[in-house]
């Protein structure tokens, strides 16, 4: 009897171990095949075909190293643009995050929604909105009778195109605001209170206490913003005019079949992004014991600084809040309003020329027949988003367990953050070369290749919010409680963990869905003839079908507003 029970236990135990190792193998294998391999394939591709790449980039028989010169030009242009954009993100984002973390006010959740909106908005639609707002007659220029700026206008001193800078700031500042706001909300208020009771003004407290303590958050928000800016394609292509960024160059070169040059540039972008995130991760970990350096030189001018800070803490403190709020409204909300109202203005006539050929109606339903291409693109977009999000969720949720339960999980998590920050056109190229006709020939450009591309970034997108919920919920404690009450490990996961993680999973799924819906850079390279909506918008702008682009943008923005609403319901519940 006792012997039998023992045998039963043993079999059960062995069986469980078998299941566990099969599970781990399956998850790790799918992570490698669907996420990590495509991310890093471009690196091995470039290195294994180095002679070919070298010949094309550095020693072209016709143009010598002109391709290399171009790569350098585009790369330095992109880096400059991203650095300036992140600097502006900090300038507006830090006061805004501080404001949101510390104040309760009417419309706070609306403001937070606006910030989330620029994370979920399909970027090519937003690009059209910005383009119209600043260069069109129906935008800010309505009073002047012409656009406020030329599309090619370059901001002096920093030497960066104005419109590109605007869209990049609008699309990247939420990373800074949200990371910093989260950190500030978790920061014990007693540190600031202690500083105030010791005689420091609000501004001095910020400089000496709050700012040093939130430097890690600033860095991780900054690197996310930087990576997003470096890889941004959709909006950038729309507002580009005569300028070319590095990701745009990849798209162009691939369409010209200059694969070697394109892959070398993609290789460089992946290396940059990887180094950036690894550096920041190491730095942030080290900075846990961060100490403010002692400075005696500063003490001399200290008196003056302290007096100024005292004044700033008093009557002038609202200035910074107003300035950053105004910036957000101008760069995010204004374009959206303009695009929505312009659809009305262009509905039956071009308000500029008065011609029917320039109207939304004509371009949608007349001979250009953009409406049917828009509808078939929508179908493709939704199909891709549904399939890739579903597969990504199936891979991501078990991965969360691996990451949190096993010691190697930390490394895996670092690796899986790389697809998030690799410029998506490099990613698309990588997938194209791996699975496409010139690689394993598993799929030709088209819907399945798009799905394979979108899975790569969707897995980490689903995973990150799920991990965040996991870490904040004490799940392992509750699972332990369930085990002491007699639940098997699998019961505990099913009855305790999955319901607790549900909010994180849902949030991740919606984010992944919107990201897939708005993705432009990578999709361009792998879509073949199965056009999704964002590239369609770019094509409309490039063929100067502005009214159709307007309508499609408004349509995309409306779609993302609905998704945002969903996201909000899920997250706030």
């Amino acid at each position: 009897m006792a012997h039998g029970a023992y045998l039963h236990d043993l079999r059960f135990w062995k069986n469980r171990r078998f299941i566990t190792s099969t599970f781990i193998f399956a998850v790790v294998a799918s992570l490698c095949v669907f996420v990590l391999l495509p991310t890093f394939y471009l690196i091995s591709f470039t290195l294994t075909r180095w002679t070919e790449v070298y010949a094309d980039v550095f020693a072209n028989p016709l143009i010598g190293d002109e391709n290399w010169m171009q790569i350098l030009r585009y790369l330095s242009f992109s880096l400059r643009l991203s650095i300036v954009a992140v600097a502006l993100d900090f300038l507006f984002g830090i006061p805004l995050a501080y404001f949101l973390a510390r104040k309760q006010f009417l419309g706070k959740s609306l403001l937070e929604d606006i910030i989330t909106l620029s994370l979920v908005i399909p970027t090519s639609g937003f690009g059209v909105a910005t383009l119209l707002t600043w260069t069109g007659v129906s935008g800010l220029g309505v009073l002047l009778g012409r656009g406020v700026v030329e599309a090619s206008y370059v901001v002096p001193i920093v030497n960066v195109p104005f419109l590109m800078l605007l869209v990049h700031v609008a699309l990247t500042f939420p990373y800074v605001v949200r990371t910093l706001q989260g950190k500030l909300e978790n920061l014990e208020p007693i540190f600031a209170q202690a500083s105030r009771t010791l005689g420091a003004s609000a501004f001095t407290t910020f400089r000496k206490i709050i700012f040093p303590l939130s430097i890690p958050a600033l860095f991780s928000g900054g690197v996310l913003a930087f990576a997003r800016s470096l890889g941004e394609t959709g909006a950038t292509m729309v507002v580009a005019s005569i300028h070319t960024t590095a990701p745009m160059a990849i798209v162009r070169w691939v369409s010209e079949f200059k694969l070697a040059t394109a892959s070398f540039l993609g290789f460089l972008l992946i290396i940059f992004a990887t180094i950036a995130i690894l550096l920041v991760d190491v730095f942030v970990q080290r900075i846990g014991a961060f100490k403010t350096p002692k400075s005696n030189t500063l003490a001399r001018i200290g008196h003056q600084v302290l007096r100024t800070e005292k004044v700033l803490s008093g009557k002038l403190r609202w200035l910074k809040d107003i300035a950053s709020l105004a910036a957000v409204l101008t760069i995010v909300i204004l374009p959206i309003i303009v695009v929505l109202t312009s659809v009305g203005a262009y509905w039956s006539l071009d308000p500029d020329t008065g011609k029917y050929q320039g109207s939304v109606l004509y371009q949608l339903f007349g001979p250009p027949n953009y409406f049917s291409s828009l509808m078939s693109a929508t179908l493709t977009s939704v199909l891709v988003a549904v399939i890739s999000t579903y597969i990504a969720a199936c891979i991501a949720i078990p991965s969360v367990y691996l990451i949190k339960r096993y010691r190697a999980g930390g490394t895996l998590r670092h690796l899986l953050r790389i697809p998030l920050i690799v410029p998506s056109s490099a990613l698309g190229l990588s997938v194209l070369l791996l699975w496409g006709p010139s690689g394993l020939n598993l799929a030709t450009p088209g819907i399945w290749l798009i799905v394979l591309t979108h899975i790569v970034f969707s897995v980490p997108v689903v995973m990150e919010p799920t991990i965040a919920v996991y870490e904040g919920s004490g799940i392992s404690m509750y699972e332990g409680v369930a085990r002491t009450l007699g639940a098997t490990p699998y019961d505990a996961v099913e009855t305790i963990s999955i319901p607790m993680l549900k909010r994180g999973i849902l949030a991740g799924v919606i984010l992944s869905f919107t990201r897939s819906l708005g993705e432009t850079g990578a999709t361009f390279l792998v879509m073949g003839s199965d056009v999704t909506v964002p590239p369609l918008v770019v094509n409309m702008v490039e063929s100067l079908a502005i009214p159709a682009a307007l309508f499609a943008s408004a349509y995309l923005i409306a779609l993302s507003l609905i998704l945002l609403l969903l996201f909000r319901i899920v997250v706030r519940k």
């Binding site: 540190f191 202690a194 009771t197 005689g199 003004s201 303590l213 100490k291 005696n296």
Partner: protein
């Protein structure tokens, strides 16, 4: 000189739904060690935070010295504040923490060095000046926090549960250390705690708070010997409460009939007329206990139901003849010990009792801590 006055201060949270502090008026005298004591949520910390300027009152006025500070930010109030969770800045070492006040007040380098050294030597941690806060024990961190609060030069020290996060032994040592510092430096101290024993041990005067109001202010002696409310009698020390009715009144003695027709004589206090319903409070340590009857006043018979040896004291739970239950505490090193089921007689002197009117909402509600 820093005396502190609150005039009808009121603070609500959650759009007025929660009244944290309700019309509190208070005068803390110069150089006094004053404690605010009460159960969690009684408003004591909010009161302290209003004095510090960390919370602004909805109504009422606050004076520090002769200065009206009601809407002044904390940095302009010239106070020292010690937090329960120490709140040492994690991005600075001990030295920078302690000299933070002098630094942000832009005192001269020389003065800063001198004060920092003095303050750290005072709490015997000068040799740890280079340590980062995480490397210190809880007691050390709180001593650093204390010297940091004092280094800013204020004569008013506000202590918010300063010992709450420490181990019992350290807590006892540090409470006397703080008391001595306050004496030596001639400070005014306001100390918030839920631990009545801690407050009794160090305070000149104590205010007992409950549900946002001050019930009684007095010296530890007054609160123990002359509690003005049932809640105070129970919160400071401990009391047995016996319900009864007044049957006879003389100048200072009320004769009270308890349940089961037991008659006892007690101090008259609030009892004002015959047949009034009252509660008689007697401290567990006020009883004599014996196996024999001694024919003295106020003798009640009973049986020992539980005995608990607590080191210094022995604690008996008795069942009286009328089925009332009574706790008696006797020093374990003096007198006779009793066992479970021993038949005993307890007695008490009338002037060690307090009589209160029976609370209209019931005794248990009155004694509730939250």
């Amino acid at each position: 000189m820093p005396d502190v006055k609150l005039v009808k201060a009121r603070k609500t949270f959650d759009k007025g739904r929660i009244v944290a502090v309700d019309q509190v008026s208070l005068h803390v005298r110069d150089k006094e060690y004053f404690s605010l004591v009460g159960p969690s949520g009684c408003g004591k910390t909010t009161t302290l935070r209003m004095i510090a300027g960390l919370v602004e009152p909805d109504e009422g006025e606050i004076f520090i010295g002769d200065k009206l500070v009601t809407s002044l930010p904390p940095e302009d109030r010239d106070i020292g504040y010690v937090f329960q969770q120490y709140a040492l800045f994690p991005n600075m070492d001990v030295w920078d923490n302690v000299t933070y006040g002098p630094t942000v007040k832009a005192w001269t380098e020389k003065k800063r060095e001198r004060i920092g050294r003095e303050m750290l030597e005072m709490v015997k941690l000068y040799d740890r000046a280079d340590a980062i806060p995480d490397e210190l024990s809880g007691g050390m961190m709180q001593r650093v926090a204390l010297s940091r609060a004092l280094a800013a030069g204020s004569k008013l020290l506000l202590l918010d549960e300063p010992l709450g996060a420490l181990d019992a032994k350290i807590r006892n040592e540090l409470r006397y250390e703080i008391r001595k510092l306050v004496n030596d430096l001639e400070l005014t101290a306001i100390h918030v705690t839920h631990d009545q024993a801690e407050a009794m041990a160090v305070s000149d005067r104590i205010a007992i708070m409950k549900k946002g109001r001050i019930l009684q202010v007095g010296t530890p002696y007054e609160l123990y010997m002359k509690p003005q409310e049932i809640f105070v009698a129970n919160f400071i020390g401990e009391s047995n409460f016996l319900e009864g009715r007044v049957v006879r009144l003389t100048d200072d003695i009320a004769t009270i009939r308890l349940r089961g027709d037991l008659k006892v004589r007690a101090r008259r206090n609030e009892a004002s007329k015959r047949n009034e319903r009252v509660v008689l409070a007697i401290r567990p340590e006020a009883f004599e206990i014996s196996k024999r009857q001694r024919k003295s006043v106020n003798e009640l018979k009973g049986v020992v139901e539980k005995v608990r040896f607590e080191g210094t004291d022995i604690r008996y739970e008795l069942r009286l003849a009328n089925d009332d239950s009574v706790i008696v505490v006797r020093p374990s090193l003096g007198g006779e010990w009793f066992k479970h089921n021993d038949k005993i007689t307890i007695s008490f002197s009338p002037d060690k009792t307090h009589t209160f009117l029976y609370p209209p909402q019931g005794l248990l509600t009155e004694l509730e801590l939250e």
